[in-house]
């Protein structure tokens, strides 16, 4: 086992588990960031520089920041429902997760892919990737551009403040309205 990979994998797994179990939601997202960085390191070890740095740029620079913003905008500093400890819920969820992992590792250990040998270092993957993106995958790329534009506009539209007519925020304002009638 390569020591470097082991350390990276351990840190990635540990921070992923922490991200899914911690009480403080901001800590959750920060741990998730460590996980993303660990995954980027795995990509770099595999020789996919472009993907690894894109991972850092997109996930650490944008997605996790977006999550933090969303958390702060929804007052999600603490998860109140977690205080109500529901053992059945947690045990079921954990069991499903472990069972899924068991099935997958069973599949991995029984697959013929394990025999695949590592080839020599891949040369000039960046140019090959660029060429294939603009020849073989040009249609998906265009669709992707469209999707990103739609997502940009859609996200802005969805997050606009909704009209007050449909606001149904709390029983307080409801009672007030009925009281006024």
């Amino acid at each position: 086992m390569s020591l470097f990979f082991t350390i990276t994998a351990l840190i990635t797994m540990a921070s992923a588990i922490a991200a899914m179990t911690l009480r403080n939601l901001v800590h959750c997202v920060l741990c998730l960031t460590v996980t993303f960085a660990g995954i980027a390191l795995v990509f770099l070890q595999l020789g996919a520089e472009f993907i690894g740095f894109s991972q850092i740029l997109v996930y650490i620079g944008a997605v996790s920041i977006l999550m933090l913003f969303a958390l702060l905008m929804t007052r999600g500093g603490t998860e109140l429902t977690l205080k109500r400890w529901d053992p059945v819920h947690w045990i079921t969820g954990t069991l499903i997760g472990i069972a899924g992992f068991g099935v997958m590792s069973f599949a991995i250990f029984n697959s013929s892919l394990r025999q695949s040998k590592i080839p020599e270092a891949k040369a000039d993957s960046l140019h090959a990737l660029g060429n294939s993106l603009l020849s073989q995958y040009v249609l998906p790329l265009e669709v992707m551009a469209l999707l990103l534009t739609v997502a940009l506009i859609g996200a802005a539209l969805i997050a606009l403040p909704e009209k007050k007519v449909f606001r149904r925020n709390a029983s307080f304002s409801k009672n007030q309205e009925s009281g006024n009638k």
Binding site: L30, T33, E49, F50, I56, L57, G61, I65, L68, L72
Partner: protein
């Protein structure tokens, strides 16, 4: 060339003296040591230069008491910073509060590692150098958030959120305007970008239509990206105390300050590499002067430009900042990208010059005319004051 070769030879000689197992670590150490020390020293000098120049712009002398002409002022500042008490708020998130300045400085320093300082004189010569640089810039946003959230202070959090919103908004024109250069050069590696401008001043990218507009857009986005004036609303002293640095003191504050300085140098070095010919001399005759000298010269003049801008412009309001980013910078950088595409399609030459120049000019003047219809970009009129005869 001879200077770079000399440095590389010295490094290999020193690495070969080490025991075999230590050689990779030693090589990395020897590559990063000159960068860290030289930029640390440069940062100290730049603080002094900034204060002196700002003073001159404001009709006063700068610091001139410590040492001859105030030369020892950075030392005095450093001693003051280091001897201050390190205060951590009681309710702060201690680990995050501690990690934030380190993360910021490390990400700023790492950005410098892909800058070519001379021929083959680059700490980390990777295929995707500029992507690495922008990835490190993105990581610094997270460090700023950690600083703001970990301090448990509303001003710190507000400042951090402002800083992040601003950095994310200006990252788009930053990357798009850098993309025009990458498109023309056809490589993500910064040493290739520098090599493409080796033929003298006429091959520099700033002297092309797309490069000129791209350079200006890149510089403006750079100012926003490193939170410098006039885009320094995250640290607006009069509104937010010191933004995300409010709850930091002593050495941690110094680290923040240093990270800002180093980020500024890194961004200036990147600008010089992308648009101003990198480490190449403007004339081939002058190439006996070593490359690092040219790069540091260009870098310093860009830093001087930033100081000059800081001495001139007032701080933008947050909504003006966002409006400028999305309504002006983004369309202009997209148009610039199209102009670079025209250049690539016509493979340079007079026709490409005229076409892409025309495209950029039409876009700039037309768009600024359209924006001027909206009253927000016009000079402010004081209607009531003028009617009453108060003003003018």
């Amino acid at each position: 060339m001879w200077f770079e070769e000399l440095l590389i030879t010295i490094k290999y000689y020193l690495v070969l003296q080490m025991p075999g197992s230590l050689q990779p670590v030693g090589s990395a150490f020897l590559s990063s040591l000159p960068i860290m020390t030289s930029f640390g020293g440069l940062f100290a000098l730049a603080t002094l230069l900034e204060r002196k120049m700002l003073g001159r712009i404001q009709n006063r002398y700068g610091p001139n008491r410590v040492g001859p002409g105030g030369l020892l002022q950075p030392v005095a500042d450093g001693i003051k910073m280091l001897t201050k008490e390190d205060i951590v708020p009681k309710n702060a998130d201690h680990l995050i509060h501690f990690l934030a300045p380190l993360g910021l400085l490390v990400s700023a320093m790492l950005g410098l590692s892909v800058i070519p300082f001379g021929h083959r004189l680059i700490a980390l010569d990777i295929e995707t150098g500029i992507l690495f640089f922008f990835a490190m810039g993105a990581a610094s946003e997270l460090a700023i958030f950690m600083a703001g959230w970990g301090s448990r202070n509303k001003y710190a959090l507000l400042g951090a959120l402002r800083a992040i919103a601003q950095m994310i908004s200006y990252e788009i024109p930053l990357i798009l305007s850098a993309l025009s250069v990458l498109m023309v050069v056809g490589s993500l590696s910064l040493s290739d970008v520098a090599q493409a401008q080796s033929g003298g001043i006429h091959t520099w990218h700033i002297f092309t239509p797309w490069g000129f507009l791209g350079c200006i857009l890149f510089l403006i986005s750079t100012l926003a990206e490193i939170n410098r004036s006039p885009f320094d609303i995250p640290e607006a002293e009069s509104e937010l105390i010191a933004g995300h640095m409010t709850e930091y003191s002593g050495f941690k504050y110094a680290l923040f300050f240093m990270a800002e300085g180093v980020a500024m140098f890194a961004m200036c070095a990147l600008t010089a590499t992308l648009f101003l010919g990198g480490y190449h001399a403007p004339l081939p005759i002058l190439s006996f002067i070593p490359g690092p000298v040219w790069l540091f010269g260009k870098l310093t003049s860009l830093v001087l430009l930033f100081i000059w801008i800081r001495g001139t412009m007032p701080r933008l309001r947050a909504d003006q900042l966002m409006e400028f980013a999305w309504k002006f910078m983004l369309p202009m950088s997209v148009v610039n990208l199209i102009a670079a595409g025209v250049w690539v399609a016509l493979d340079g030459g007079v026709a490409a010059w005229i076409l892409s120049g025309l495209l950029n000019c039409v876009a700039y003047f037309g768009w600024s005319r359209i924006l001027s219809q909206a009253s927000r970009f016009n000079p402010r009129t004081y209607r009531y004051a003028e009617e009453a005869g108060v003003s003018k």
